[in-house]
Symmetry: C2
Subunit: 86 residues, 2 copies
Amino acid sequence: MYNVKIYVTYKESILDPQGEAVRGAVHRMGFDEIEDIRMGKYFEIKVAKQADRTVEETIETICDKLLANVVMESYRYEIEAVKETV
Amino acid sequence: MYNVKIYVTYKESILDPQGEAVRGAVHRMGFDEIEDIRMGKYFEIKVAKQADRTVEETIETICDKLLANVVMESYRYEIEAVKETV
């Protein structure tokens, strides 16, 4: 089994209105040292081993088709293999 | 300056309806090897050095008061110091 962590963020060139709103709120709380906030999505996924495709193929297909809007967002992922105890 | 990454997720005991919905959609796409999906929020924050408080204090205050609902959500963060080029 694999534990996969996926991070989806807006591309650098895309305005992030949620992050801007959070930055405004943080400044109103008095934390002027916060210079920039970008907000994204985070997924923790458990994937079973599959015979006919690799976990990388599975994750990239899911990201491209479902989790990320690849026109505006980019994603990165980390795969951690979990030892199965029998 | 510091680059901080913050991950906010529902606590284990809390139902994650968004993650459940994504899991259903992934299964309808034919990826039955996806066993569990939990969805969270992800923040990338740039923080300037401050004289009267540490970056950890700043981040924890912001998380507790604004970014996470600590009753239902837990958070973790990574701080990376960035060398300033003068």
